[in-house]
């Protein structure tokens, strides 16, 4: 059995849907001012259908403080949800439609009061059909329901049949239940603060397991985890883990979270742990037979997190050149598996470029010159040294830039071949790029052509 509650004068600050939840957990928001509830199984709570309807009307008149709406409502109960909706919207007070006797109750309603949207019919189509019915002399629900089914189907098609069943109160459908919005967040307040990471991992595991179960239930994944720790010193430690691909594996999340907390530990003991995630649709990929293997996204994320812990977050990623002429200007982007690209032509043998190995930071050098040309170089650093006679030289090439900034540069660059310092060595000279800063007149070795 279904009950439709209809009211046109519900105050804007009150919700008819919330009111309906007091009687049944299965609620459909049918239209503005009308909700339909499934009342099967409510007998133990409210008694018979008539008693239920009376209770609905009584409570609706109560003040909002007592859980009411301070409004008059129409209540209709029927075996058919659509019949209940028609009865509640067109008949005042309480209406009980007995099963199989829908037409007795609804038959006299004018045909243009048919709620065609309940049968999934568009307004334009419905109006055309109503006009046709008017020309045929069909005025009421009962007239329409009495027409032969085959004839309606021939003349008005499947849409006409659906409207006829609606008028006869014979439609069968499930309620479109209002689902409460899912919440993908979990929180836990601790009796005693925790200062170590290992005990925290058990709590993370539990919260993540619940989060991933919720995501799994809705066939969703997440690409962002938000961790909030309320600390003993009344501060909040917040971390946000962005993932390049949506995932929902709680084991991977736990490892990533622990690695992140190890790299960025909270400054005080933890009192409350809150975990939330942003739900998104899961990633769907189609692999190819002839596409080279790539790392699994979840394994790659874990590996990158471990590497970041080992060498530092700023030392890992994909290089990208900056749009400037400044020497050795680049940035590190987060490494993300690229999407599939169209196959490219073989570049074999096309790019035999002379490679450069950078010395970072540039090696401070002492350079002897003759008429401005380098003749002897000596430079010592912690990891490398360069010294010897300059046997070949090319340059200088002057570059300057960013003169309006603090970190401007202006220098003369040279390519030099430096013979090994040891005279007995038969090694060919090594090739270096050196430069002299124009403002400080200091020499540096920038790198080695290799």
């Amino acid at each position: 059995m279904f009950a439709c509650i209809y009211s046109e004068n519900v105050p804007s600050n009150l919700s008819l849907t919330d009111f309906a939840y007091e009687f049944s957990p299965l609620v459909e928001e049918t239209k503005a001012g009308a909700v339909t509830i499934d009342v099967d199984g409510c007998e133990l709570l409210f008694g018979s259908a008539y008693q239920l309807a009376n209770e609905v009307m009584r409570r609706a008149k109560q003040s909002p403080a007592d859980g009411g709406l301070e409004a008059t409502v129409n209540v209709a109960i029927a075996a058919n949800a659509d019949a209940a909706i028609h009865a509640a919207t067109h008949l005042g007070g309480i209406t009980f439609v007995s099963p199989g006797e829908e037409l007795t109750c609804l038959g006299e309603f004018p045909i243009n009061q048919l709620h065609y949207d309940l049968a999934g019919v568009e307004q334009k189509t419905a109006e055309e059909i109503f006009e046709t019915l008017r020309l045929w002399g069909i005025r009421t629900f009962a007239d329409f329901a009495s027409l032969p089914v085959a004839g309606v189907s021939e003349r008005l098609g499947q849409v006409g049949l659906r409207l006829q069943q609606l008028a006869a109160g014979k439609t069968e459908r499930h309620l479109k239940l209002k689902q409460p919005a899912p919440v993908f967040a979990n929180s836990l307040e601790l009796d005693h603060p925790i200062a170590e990471i290992e005990p925290l991992s058990f709590i993370f595991a539990r919260l993540l397991h619940q989060l991933c179960a919720a995501l799994n239930a809705y066939a969703l994944a997440t690409n962002e985890l938000q961790l909030q720790l309320q600390l003993e010193d009344q501060t909040t430690h917040e971390r946000r883990l962005s993932l390049p691909y949506p995932m929902r594996d709680h084991k991977v999340f736990l490892k990533l979270l622990l690695l992140d907390v190890e790299m960025h530990p909270p400054v005080a003991a933890v009192r409350t742990i809150s975990l939330a995630c942003e739900p998104v649709k899961p990633r769907v990929t189609q692999n190819g037979l002839f596409v080279p293997l790539a790392p699994a996204p979840d394994k790659l994320e874990l590996t990158l997190a471990r590497l970041a812990k080992l060498v530092g977050e700023e030392n890992i990623g994909s290089p990208a050149l900056l749009d400037t002429h400044r020497p050795d200007a680049f940035t590190m982007n987060r490494f993300v598996l690229p999407s599939k690209k169209a196959p490219r032509q073989s570049t074999i043998d096309n790019r035999k470029c002379l490679g450069l190995r950078m010395f970072r930071p540039p090696l401070r050098a002492v350079v002897e010159t003759e008429q401005g040309w380098p003749t002897q170089i000596s430079a010592w650093g912690k990891q490398r040294s360069v010294y010897g006679k300059v046997v070949q030289v090319a340059g200088p090439w002057r570059t300057t830039g960013d003169w309006w900034r603090e970190d401007r540069w202006a220098r003369d660059e040279w390519d030099v071949a430096v013979a090994a310092g040891n005279k007995t060595s038969s090694e060919p000279p090594a090739l270096y790029r050196i430069f002299r800063t124009l403002n400080s007149e200091m020499w540096f070795v920038e790198g080695n052509y290799d």
Binding site: P292, L293, A294, P295, A296, K299, L300, L302, T303, L304, R306, L307, L310, V311, G312, N315, I316, G317, S318, P319, A320, L321, D328, F330, F335, L337, P338, K340, K341, P343, R344, S346, T347, I348, D349, N350, R351, K352, C353, L354, G355, L356, R357, M358, F359, K382, Q383, R384, Q392, V393, A394, D415, A417, E427, P428, P429, A430, L431, Y449, D450
Partner: protein
């Protein structure tokens, strides 16, 4: 003699039942990845997958040119590559000129920490899925490189065995010992024209596997503006 004969008899009797269980299986030739330089590929047959390749030589011997060339080829052929840069010497501008697709390159800078470099390599190899992993210890002094314990190399070799990953080790002196399936030794000589550094003429010697008849090749890496 009697026991040897009886062993042969036993094998002959049960060979029909157990198929080719007593045959000696020849190891299939390893899959290779091009180095991007035809002369090197002709000499070495390409960079073997599932094995270690060592490229050694002094400064300006052409190691980096060969490395960039191999990376350019691999990244433009949909391989995911990783470079473990022990001494932070990778030059993005020079690499871009060589044609490396940075989207497919994971660059790990180890700030001259050799231990971190080896641990990072180990993590990457265990993650799997990389087509080419390069461990650059080219600026590590020979004395220090010789101190690297062999177990690292055995571990790497064992990890990538039967996997499509190739490892290239760039070093100043050969240090992988018997763990490398291919060892190339490079020597370069800068070529100057009209007072400009025009190219580096690189001699490539294959030390392992050694075939006396065909063991040397040469290529020229050109300077780019």
């Amino acid at each position: 003699m009697r026991s040897a004969l009886s062993k042969a008899e036993i094998e002959a009797n049960i060979a029909s039942r157990f198929g080719d269980a007593f045959k000696i299986h020849e190891k299939a030739a390893p899959e290779t990845l091009s180095s991007g330089i035809a002369e090197v590929d002709t000499l070495s047959g390409g960079i073997p997958r599932g094995a270690i390749t060592e490229i050694s030589g002094p400064r300006s011997s052409g190691r980096t040119s060969l490395l960039y060339s191999a990376l350019a080829y691999a990244t433009t052929h949909d391989e995911i590559c990783a470079l473990i840069d022990t001494n932070d010497t990778f030059a993005p501008a020079s690499a871009a000129a060589a044609g490396i697709d940075f989207e497919r390159l994971l660059w790990i800078r180890c700030a001259a920490n050799l231990e971190h470099a080896f641990k990072a390599t180990d993590l990457l190899l265990h993650a799997g899925g990389f087509g080419l992993v390069i461990l650059d210890i080219g600026d590590v002094a020979g004395k220090e490189a010789r101190r690297i314990i062999s177990s690292w190399w055995y571990r790497f070799r064992r990890t990538i065995e039967n996997r499509p990953t190739a490892i290239i080790v760039i070093s100043e002196e050969a240090c992988t010992r018997s763990c490398a399936a291919l060892t190339l030794e490079l020597h370069g000589n800068g070529e100057w024209s009209r007072n400009l550094l025009s190219s580096n003429s690189v001699n490539v010697n294959r030390c392992r596997p050694f075939w006396p008849a065909f063991n040397e090749s040469q290529f020229r890496a050109h300077a780019v503006a």
